[in-house]
Amino acid sequence: MRNFLFITIALVIQVAAISAGAQQNPILVKNVAETEVERKNAQGVAEKVRVPLDKAVPGTEVIYTTTFTNNGSKPAGNIAITNPVPAEMTYVGGSAFGDGTDITFSIDGGKTYAAAEKLRVKTPDGRERAALASEHTHIRWAYRGELAPAKTGSAGFRAVIK
């Protein structure tokens, strides 16, 4: 009888915590690091499979994917995702993805953003050149329109461990 009471109290507390969280953050966000490995499927054909990554050697290409789900009851607007390229990694040019998003990049630590082809770097001799993918420090995805309740979006990029 006493045990049962404790369990009940614990359940109530947990439910309360979840609902409080949902009210504060109706958008649930997740970020995963994965890598692609080649495996043979049942037919013996090699195919690329994404697997979660918890350890890796330098040179590994990592795929970061951020997913965002509207768990609230109202649509969410002005959604923007900002993700820094880790300092120990190099962005893979052209790899940023995100359905229904406009993607811009920063080469100044996230102060300013522009489309990849518009980023310019000043060289020591005073000229300008196009920025390299390896110089991208941050990526921003601006989600077009609103995210309706119960809908999920995703955005991500690939980078190689230096």
Partner: protein, 332 residues
């Protein structure tokens, strides 16, 4: 001005937050990534951050050996303690220790060099560039399992393979030695690239065998070289009886012979024998060797004048070197 300097330093520090060497991100580094989401609901802005996606960089074991000799090293036959020079580099991303070994029986050469009488392998001790077998800057004798070189990621060490050369090898014979450097991490050396060794990396992370198979091999070679003896005879001065410099009866002519020993190795029993030119008379006791006067008698000094010829005995002479012999004659 001082403030400017400080500001500059701060900027440099900020610009280089992470030192990533050529060998890559250091083993054991935890790489984290947190995305930030901004949005608004009903006109109220909000912000949300993801839990970090993180993973650990494991240790990649890689090593290279590069010969530092521009060409095969010239030796005599016999010879002793001649060094081949290699650069050992830890091209992995964690500290690693390497066991060294030499193979004297490399196929395709003319002879097998012998382990040096002073020692087979030496490690540069950093005091004086180049191999020193003895003396205050003598390099460190390598003892397998005792002082295996431990190198940080990207670090290098000069290694000398020191050899004796057997006797009676003809000029032009080549003897090759292969040096190998093997990671001492258990199971790493020679394993297939990508082999994972759980927990054997820096700080207990996994170790992964890299493209070099954690094992480097590099050969270097010796060539038995001859010596080239060169001889150049010139007239240094002519003094005639009138104090001029014309050649006539009674003029004193000073000859200079430069004897060069070039190449590599030793000229054995090197001797000069220069018969007097016709119609000249030798000036007694006029021979000098490298500026030092010599007597004409066949005695302890190396020079003599006999049978109308100037003779100087140098004996076994190691290349490269040169000697200058001068003597005087009068014109008959």
């Amino acid at each position: 001005m001082l403030r400017k300097v400080f500001a500059f330093c701060a900027a440099v520090l900020c610009a280089a937050p992470i030192a990533v060497g050529a060998a890559g991100t250091p083993a054991g580094t935890v790489i984290q990534n947190t995305a930030t989401l901004t949005y608004s609901i009903g006109g109220v802005p909000a912000i949300s951050t993801t839990p970090p996606a993180s993973f650990t960089v494991v240790e990649l074991i890689n090593v290279t050996l590069v010969s530092q000799d521009a060409a095969t090293v010239a030796v005599n036959s016999p010879d002793s303690n001649r060094a081949l020079t290699f650069l050992l580099t830890n091209t992995g991303n964690g500290p690693e220790t390497f066991a060294l070994a030499r193979n004297n029986a490399v196929a395709g050469d003319n002879y097998d060099p012998l382990n040096g009488s002073a020692g087979a392998i030496f490690l540069e001790n950093g005091l004086q560039a180049g191999f020193q077998a003895t003396g205050p800057n003598a390099d460190t004798l390598y003892v397998a399992g005792s002082n295996d070189p431990a190198l940080a990621a990207d670090a290098s060490r000069i290694v000398y393979v020191v050899s004796d050369t057997p006797a009676a090898r003809p000029t032009g014979d080549v003897g090759r030695v292969e040096l190998s450097a093997a990671s001492t991490t258990a199971g790493a050396a020679g394993a297939a690239p990508g082999t994972t060794l759980p927990g054997l990396g820096q700080g207990g992370v996994d170790a992964v065998v890299g493209g070099t198979r954690a094992l480097a091999r590099q050969a270097g070679g010796y060539v038995v070289s001859g010596v080239a003896v060169t001889l150049a005879k010139t007239v240094v001065s002519i003094v005639d009886v009138a104090g001029g410099s014309t050649v006539r009866s009674g003029s004193i002519v000073t000859y200079r012979i430069v004897l060069g020993v070039a190449g590599s190795g030793s000229a054995l029993g090197l001797a000069l024998n220069d018969p007097l030119p016709a119609n000249t008379t030798y000036v007694a006791n006029s021979i000098t060797v490298n500026g030092q006067a010599r007597t004409d008698a066949a005695d302890a000094d190396q020079a003599e004048f006999s049978n109308a010829a100037v003779k100087v005995l140098f004996g076994d002479t190691a290349a490269p070197t040169s000697h200058i012999v001068e003597f005087r004659v009068t014109v008959n």
